[in-house]
Symmetry: D2
Subunit: 426 residues, 4 copies
């Protein structure tokens, strides 16, 4: 998908660095049109120098990094000029009681939002006091839904019947593109002259979007179109659906589906979260349930997106996937007079332990901190460990913020409530 | 919101660095419980060392950075241990024809997703060939919606009448908390015994979430609750709604509401995007419209979230706000036989030119690259310049990906379409 | 909009009834092509006879009615052949404590669903025992949203500015089409090359859809298009939005916005509804809140649609408007240990006391039963009285069904719960 | 669910009719408290007389009907007082090309909305001219989703495993409640301490809601609860979801999923619908697609609800089910330069050929007109015939209204477009 419309300048006598900088700054040459024999570090330096000239902005901090530029500029980011440095803090220990992690971890969070790490940390202490968060993560699988054009319902039904009848061949061709893919389902949706086929794959420890796209491409181009004569209009027909909030993912899940929960007694509520069961249950009711209903929201929670974004950036996940991860439902229910049951539910969290940004240098260190290390013998387990951590840290962060509403705001409010009241007899 | 439940250990004889590391690693001391007189750099080093001991993970890349640790650890990230380095590439020049920017800029994008910068760059070239993207950004304002409990409809109506009658006082008290806030609206929503008041403020060049929360807190605690006797249950009642996809923000907007558009003729479509009007219009129809409808999505676009996340991370915005920014509608319409009108619409893009992560060192450089520089004489203009850039770069990225579906996939598909067909007479 | 494509047969010698029947039955003549000088009763009889011949189905019950055929066939139903007889039952007395009705009414419900009237009746008895339902109805107004095509954002902004600048003229021309219309708002929504203008009118005692459409048509054709040169693509652009579930109506309301509530003590819960506060609150939580969230529903209630449909059919409302009326939120909250506060909220209930089916003979009687009688001196009051009744009867029906879940199902369940349990230690 | 809280008065000496009327009118006796030995006709007359006295409203039209009162008052409507007479018109012939009907039918529509029958009739003529509507209806099945309370994720997973392991027993017990039920699926959805089990059944020619509820009740009370110890909180947990607009039904379907389509050439568009391909495609685009997107609607169509309500009332379906039927997507696409492909898609249309209101006298006649006659040898076929008719008549009605927007409004608009224009150079 690189822009090759403007041909690279003929290479006769090699240009000096200064000449390259000048030609970039003058707009005679595009930033991706540097000579191929430049090292990626040199190319980055030349681009920075040109930008500095053009904008009179020193870029010394962007230049300051320790990434393997060769890898980053090939696999992660074209027209590489350096890095954004995102502050990383540590929360924990977080006590996780899952299937893939039963123990404590310290969680690296990359964020620029004041109080997020401190608040999440407070949630971790509450969870610790309660003996840990019970977490389960299901591997729903990664999806991609090509869209096809038919002549109408009759051809659509014949097409869908063909898909059903040829499931084995479709499995063979898609799984043939990678050792790490297993086809789980092809879910159709159709109306008018349009058909979507939502392919869902187990992709092991990888988040899998790219592998799955390649697999679908192969199946569509080499099998489905030739055999059926039905044209594919686009490899992604938005019934996947990637990086957009959507009912289909809320219903069917995508990536990992994560559950985390804890029971907090009166003492923990009071000492660790400066709140109590009654107030917490009321904020939950009026904010996470009624407020989200009033807003027409798909997120029935306080702020899954915040801590998920921080974890995703720290560990090399795709931050745009936070869009999907923000969907979900928090529950806080009274248990007996003074305790609460609190849970988070995230039906759609795409993440991986390999691929994407996970191999970058700081991200690799963050994953190592969490003990997330793919084991070829147990594909998928490392990603599920990360998913369990994600569930528990979101629960921690959610609890702390919800408690903050009650302790700061409600308490203060209650003190100051005057005598006068609008309450009228009804 | 910091965790103060575990008291800091008495400071009698100052502990050595090694002792501090040991006590952290042994779990005797929490990561936020380091002596206050340590410099933030030392504290970070001690935390890293403890983590390295506990997890046997060297953290030398996370340690490698050029941030002003004092500022970052105070204002952005507690329990600071270093940074995540996110690769930054450059796209452009991007030709923007807006009200706050009429010219070309190079756009820094921090991403780990291969092909994103290259593809966006290709979109920039198409927009340049077309003379630029026409962009408009409206300052909808930042919102916060406290939630109140009443005794029912009768008290609710009296309460809302009071709010209406006392708008001037509410304006005075909220605007009194900051020189940069102007109250634009208080939108109520109520049912049962619950009332939401969605405050909407112009917050100048700041994204504004914190300022607005403080203003609401003041109004609620010092004016509304004392005067009405109606209790506020939570300062944020999710009718705001922050970092969650939601109908209210799609309808009413939040942050900036951004429009960007361009007309591409046959030559540009062919040379810059390797596509044509007919195929592009068809992918738009079946993917962005029908596919999103089928998915029950709030995002009628291909991938706003991707480039928005990259721009947000590069420029110090809150990446969790990408959740809201992913909502919106792309249009691609035939204009004459061979051209297309293409537009993006983003009703809900919270962003700022000051505050949050914008003062961090690499982020400041990225904003400077874009010429985003707040001018006290013209508050809000810098943020609107950034919003216009956001609109144009999203358009560029959207065009390139949409074209990729047609050129790569459709073309290949068309070639390979066999003779056999499922088309039946209807 | 009648089908005039097939010309009426030349009238030379008037055909006999038998000849007309024969020609209809033979398909030589369409059902709307009967001679104009036939009385509507004769025309209906001829149509029935033809249908009876063609389908060998006697239509004697459809023929059996007491409607004023002249009126019904002109104003309500073309190609009239008779009536559907819908059983009508009576519920009540219903004790309403509203602004437009403070007293008891008996409510006619036309339904074919067994148990609906009985169950609603039970809810009425509970409400009576509690002293009545407090109800408020707001006249949001009827809406219609023409859709326009512009050349893009620049023209869109100019167009919207023109609309704003010419609000007085728009008011004058729209209100000039009827003595009963008052323009309340023109709400724009725009993206790409498309602009919606959502006109909202107070339409007095009429539901108002037709009046409002005519007013918009006039404004568009005689003022807006000629003055701006911007083309209207359709008088209804679905941003109205009529008879479809939608966020815009949930947010902004449409027709009447209705609130009804009651507090039920332990005795009433036990004697009238065979339930108790705890069970009722739990069903509410798991069904109306969590279940609707899980389903991605816009209706956070048990069955508003049922009793609303029955009331609408009985009183001559448009039954397709039940689609909108099914949106809304039921709340049931503990009040003290043993009582509950129960409320219904319906943001979007289009209804009227005149026009549409309200003048039909049985429907007129049903409205008279309810004391719904438009008074020219107090336009709108009769419709609001009906809205208050709608709110209270929906509350009655909702309470009874919710209680049924607890008393029938939960009670039975509790008895039968065995010793064995899947509860595992967590 | 009848109200038995007030005991029937002791029957010592039988009261006269006048005495009964008096005691009802005086409020001493409720309307359901009439002596059991009264014939239902007498009881209805006594109720009417009491209402007439109380409200001074003659109810002679409500009294005028030909229903079998015994049946109607037992099976359809308690506290029976008479009927609502809904005007019935006839549209057609409608040419249907389905699997269960290949031929023409005349369609009875019960409506009070002027122009609906005439307009639908016009659509029928266009479909006839095009050779008929191709229709397919799938029997998705009727659903009911009880909601359960668990102790959290661990018990939830054990519970769901139990459900999976005991599918055969669940099938046996549910199918044992009726000869007409076949269990198709049990779809779980769970979070926090809540589990929904969405049972889906083939219910033959019946709409099936009641049968399915009884089957679920049996399975829950006699098998699932006793065996698992997990409590059912409500037999309907709104994940069903009945009579509410919802994503789950849009995704998974409910009742019948119906597709209907037709290709209209330039001549038919012009002669039968007074429109042309270009205008029709544009209204479709801006109204049904963009307008519904702007509105946040689940109905991407013009007015499915209107004609569906009219057909449902005429044929004894549950009119509250129109809420679900209003969801769906209309497509109108250019085919060649002058023709269009037009389709409707309704994923969620509950209907039946037996049960509910279908046995009522006028409704039975209406079904007979349509040739809808259950055949025990081919269970389900009659309901599918009705579903095919529903699809085709909705298509007819949709086409006619969409055409009306173009011919009336656009044409008029185009004529009147003045010289002046807001179009600015962009």
């Amino acid at each position: 998908m690189t822009d090759t419309t403007s041909p690279v300048a003929p290479a006769a006598p090699p240009l000096t660095r200064a000449e390259l900088v000048r030609s970039l700054a003058a707009g005679e040459r595009r930033f991706h049109e540097l000579p191929k024999d430049l090292s990626p570090e040199e190319a980055a330096a030349i681009r920075r120098q040109a930008l500095e000239q053009m904008t009179r902005t020193p870029l010394k901090n962007i230049a300051h990094h320790s990434l393997d530029v060769h890898r980053a500029s090939k696999r992660n980011c074209e027209n590489f000029i350096g890095v954004a440095q995102i502050p990383m803090g540590i929360a924990g220990p977080l006590r996780v009681r899952g299937k893939h992690l039963d123990g404590e971890v310290y969680v690296p969070l990359a964020t620029t939002e004041a109080a997020l790490v401190a608040s999440t940390n407070r949630g971790c202490s509450a969870i610790r006091a309660a003996g840990g968060a019970v977490v389960r993560a299901e591997d729903v699988g990664m999806t991609r839904a090509p869209v096809f054009r038919t002549s109408g319902i009759v051809q659509t039904q014949a097409f869908l019947q063909w898909i059903k009848d040829n499931e084995d061949e479709i499995r063979a061709i898609t799984e043939g593109t990678s050792n790490h893919l297993h086809l789980l389902e092809v879910r159709p949706y159709a109306f008018g002259s349009t058909v979507f086929l939502r392919f869902r794959f187990d992709s092991g420890d990888a988040m899998g979007m790219n592998m799955v796209t390649i697999a679908c491409d192969r199946a569509v181009n080499e099998l489905i179109e030739p055999a059926t004569g039905v044209a594919c209009v686009g490899l992604s027909g938005n019934y996947c659906v990637d990086k957009k909030p959507a009912a289909i993912n809320f219903q069917e899940g995508r990536g990992k589906r994560i559950y985390a929960e804890v029971i907090l007694d009166a003492g923990t509520l009071h000492h660790n979260l400066k709140t109590n069961a009654r107030d917490l249950v009321e904020v939950q009711y009026r904010k996470n349930l009624l407020g989200s209903i009033a807003a027409g929201s798909l997120g029935f929670n306080a702020h899954y997106a915040n801590v998920l974004a921080a974890l995703f950036i720290a560990t090399g996940q795709d931050p745009a996937h936070v869009v999907e991860g923000s969907m979900g439902v928090t529950c806080i229910e009274a248990r007996g007079p003074d305790s609460v049951f609190a849970s988070v539910f995230m039906p759609d969290v795409p993440l991986g332990a390999i691929g994407g940004g996970t191999a970058l240098d700081t991200q690799r260190e963050a994953l190592a901190l969490l003990g997330v290390a793919p084991d070829p013998e147990r594909p998928g387990d490392a990603a599920l460990r990360l998913a369990e951590i994600a569930g528990a840290i979101v629960l921690a962060s959610e609890l702390s913020l919800m408690a903050a509403f009650t302790s700061q705001d409600l308490a203060r409010a209650h003190e100051k409530l005057g005598r006068q009241s609008l309450t009228l007899p009804t």
